[in-house]
Symmetry: C2
DNA sequence: GGGCGCGTTGGACATTTGCGCAATAGGCTC
DNA sequence: GAGCCTATTGCGCAAATGTCCAACGCGCCC
């Protein structure tokens, strides 16, 4: 394969690893899979990454960090906290892009036995929570929201979102995908003393499937 | 090893598999691990289970079903819906018994690629949701609760519980373990129009760790 | 108590895995 | 264009894995 500058090759490997991870799952991704995906030899991977765990953690880190950063940038354009929360739910795509959320499911499971993966997933989950907490704190300062403990509220909102998305992705058919966003947004309004509908996330077709579904 | 009647041997294998799964994780459990755990040969496992996937799904099914059934039995002793909800949160041990919840994390992750595991985890998650939904419906009939859509409320309560427990187990230190129960119970009260503290789950030491923690 | 059924053995087998290493070759510098 | 640095190769290696199978021996039935 063509010779590449190290930095470029390194990101090519990460990109290839991500492609395989989304196709076969984090746990089932092997050195040879990544090499084949790139069209190079397997030895090359170990020239850039000390171990497979490293590569998996770095790859997951890149995918998840980018997702977070995109949301942060989008939110930063909001003029007030309520607008930023609206953006938060509007751009929450993890549940719709199954592969991205599946990576989170893999990470949470692997966290118990892969220290590098655990450190990454914890750091990024905390970052998501902090993003919410800071927005809430700002909203309280703006007097558009009321919240006794933004830190706790942020954990609850994020956890409800993840818990619902989990069902939607892992058990297709249990929960309507739009309900994941709508229910989380509605709960957020309650939690922050906002009027119903204040977080104007797309709410079309919010209909949960009946007990028989 | 001593000869056993097939039914007995079969459950011995399942029990051994569970023991290994809780120690090494679902994905990392091997035929030889299970055989060693039982003190028998590895060939014996395949005499009772067609494939490793089968065994993993059956073992997870047994553990999770038993957990659910214990809760159901405990709840059935409640005299009204509120009492049953209190029992529900009081006996919710999955977050405290890390190994049990870790199995759920493994199952949700593996669900994407192991049909047998997905079917089991979905069926059991739905059963948990239904248990909640039926209790809520009963509470509404008793006029002690108000809820426009018990089915949806049940999904939200369960998802918040799972989402919080997920953080507590996968990322030790992020969320206080008691907060998982307390926050979920408090949310349930809000969702069902119950007075604060109506669900008298153990609430001691509910203190979330600060942003620096 | 002898014989038979089947629970059980324990290793064979092919495959896959992470990782390492000596050899190769591509491209930049002088 | 020569030479050197290093990116890249491609195989080797040991360990582990799921699955299969022929032989073995325990315990029940006649």
């Amino acid at each position: 394969m063509a010779r590449m500058p190290p930095a470029e090759r390194r990101s090519a490997i990460v990109e290839a690893a991500l492609r395989v991870m989304t196709r076969k799952g984090m746990a089932a991704t092997t050195v040879r899979d990544v090499a084949d995906q790139m069209g190079t030899s397997s030895g090359l991977i170990h020239h850039y990454f000390a171990s497979m765990d490293d590569l998996l953690a770095v790859a997951f880190d890149q995918a998840a960090s980018q997702d977070l950063q995109l949301t942060q940038v989008a939110m930063s354009r909001g003029r007030d906290a309520v607008e930023r929360l609206t953006t938060f739910f509007g751009t929450y795509t993890r549940a719709e892009q199954d592969w991205a959320f599946q990576l989170w499911l893999d990470a949470w499971s692997e966290a118990a036995r892969r220290p590098a993966v655990r450190a990454t997933s914890q750091r990024l989950n905390v970052a998501w929570q902090r993003l919410l907490a800071e927005t809430i704190t700002a909203g309280v300062a703006e007097a558009t929201m009321t919240c006794a403990d933004p830190h706790s509220s942020a954990w609850r909102i994020l956890s409800l979102l993840d818990g619902l998305a989990l069902q939607a992705v892992a058990h297709e058919g249990s929960i309507d995908r739009h309900a994941v966003i709508a229910w989380s947004a509605a709960y957020t309004e309650t939690e922050l003393g906002l009027p119903e509908g204040a977080i104007a996330a797309p709410r079309a077709q919010v209909r949960s499937m009946g007990p028989s579904g």
